[in-house]
Amino acid sequence: MSQPADETEALLQFLYIAPVGLAQTTIDGEIVMINPLSAQLLLPLSSDGALENLFAALEGIAPDLRNRTESFTAPYGTICEDLKLQISAGVPGRSEARILSLTLLKTGPDRLMAMLRDITREVARELLLRDSEAWLNAILTGITDYAVVRVDAQGRIHDWNKSIGRLTGFQPEDVVGKPYSCFYPSDSTTPERDLDRLREADASGWSMDEGWRLRADGTRFWGSAIIAPLLDHGVPHADGTVSDAEQDEPTYCLVIRDISDKREAGERIREAASCDHLTGIANRRAFFEAAEFELERWQRAPRPLSIIIFDADHFKRINDTHGHPVGDAVLRHLATVLSTTFRQIDIVARVGGEEFAILLPSTDLTDAIAVAERVRRKIAAASVDVDGKQIPYTVSGGVATMDASLAGLDALMKRADTALYAAKAAGRNRIEPAPAT
């Protein structure tokens, strides 16, 4: 049976101009079908100038592709998804690091489908946002005032200087010997996070964060903090002596700057990139990025770390009965409850249609369950006001905590998802913890 010629031609053109790279190969990577965008992305990488084999073309940037495919023994499934392949590192200030994203599916015993995208710009935008903005804020612009603080290896403030008093209004006896977190609102950091920053400074030469800071009178200002290790170890006491133990202890320089007037501009850029359009809280990508970072910290120094996944109950029914504007109002209400209930240090994000995830650093399963319960009760007792009409709704939640048996973030989320499913199955408007292993 043959199709009408113009229909075939339309299909051809559809594939010619498809804005993603697509290729079909044999299980050995021999290219059977390939569209132009794939060729555009792959040809400059191919060392022999021929596009016969996908694995060969990607050899330079994904040498393990053949191996990944061989060790994937199931007849169907995803071999890799959105694997970031760095084509070139780029030259700071001159050229961007070029990055391809590859998804490889096994669609039959001898058939692979590949999808390729150039995500150079997306990645560069993210990096720019993170680095240049933070650095510029911290160093070049809008400095109202600053404090320089010497900190020991445990994060305790070593000695007093006038800049501390000028910026924060603290007295010497308020701060000397105290953890440097006395400059942070209490819900925005934990003792573990305080030490993480020092370890990150050890590893990369500096560590920087932006956020609310605290003055002695309890008022807040928007500040940036840079921590850098001091090269000569040991800080002499007032009498000039340094004990042997202290000789080996690293010390740090903490610079806190008041950048209140830069906050608004910076926040706007950040929101555009990492906030969910409907609810204004972090989006999925931002959640994964922040959570991966927290998981890395956990891997370096395990400590309690929990996750809650909430899902609005019968959300489809709400949409079908009252219309999408009401559904949207419910999601916004839920997002508001979440962002006002959790601490600043917690990562609150919309990760799916009606699914929200919260990562809670330095929080064990019991405490995570307690706060999840609080949210559930709060929502069950409230209702959403839409044009004078009160719409009640409930949520279910699954709670899980990180341990060494879990490979990473995905495994942790899967565990919380399983608990969420159990809460749904048990009748909704419930919180279920994942069974401990």
Binding site: E9, L12, Q13, I34, P36, L37, L43, P44, E52
Partner: protein, 130 residues
């Protein structure tokens, strides 16, 4: 009229000859010819190219070459060469080995890239490699 059979793919000075050919002569050539203007819009698409790609000229004429018609050439190997030649106002006549995705099959071809400063059309010639 020039006899098309004399105008082999590697004929010297094709950049001067091609603009003088009419459609019948262009269609008689046994290699693909794509002509595009300074804006990158396809203005000429001969029968051989149409047959190899599986697209009739009316789907292609007036469309941007490097984004809609042949995105696989939108890289430093092809598109960049034309841009550089235009920026420097110099002639371009280069033949390169390339792989095109004609009807989604990877096909080895030789591409001849031709641009004359100030000329209304630039050309990509496509010849299948044996």
């Amino acid at each position: 009229m020039t006899d098309a059979s004399e105008l082999a793919f590697n004929t010297l000075g094709l950049g001067k000859t091609l603009p003088t050919l009419d459609n019948v002569a262009l269609d008689a050539l046994d290699y693909g010819v794509i002509g595009f203007d300074a804006q990158g819009l396809v203005r000429l698409y001969n029968a051989t190219e149409s047959q190899m790609a599986g697209l009739t000229p009316d789907r292609v004429l007036g469309q941007p070459l490097f984004t809609v018609v042949a995105p696989c050439m939108n890289n430093f190997l092809v598109a960049q060469r034309f841009e550089d030649a235009a920026t420097d106002a110099v002639a371009l006549d280069a033949t390169i080995d390339y792989v095109l995705t004609l009807r989604m099959k990877p096909i080895k071809v030789k591409l001849r890239l031709i641009a004359e400063p100030g000329a209304p059309l630039r050309f990509v010639l496509v010849n299948r490699r044996p």
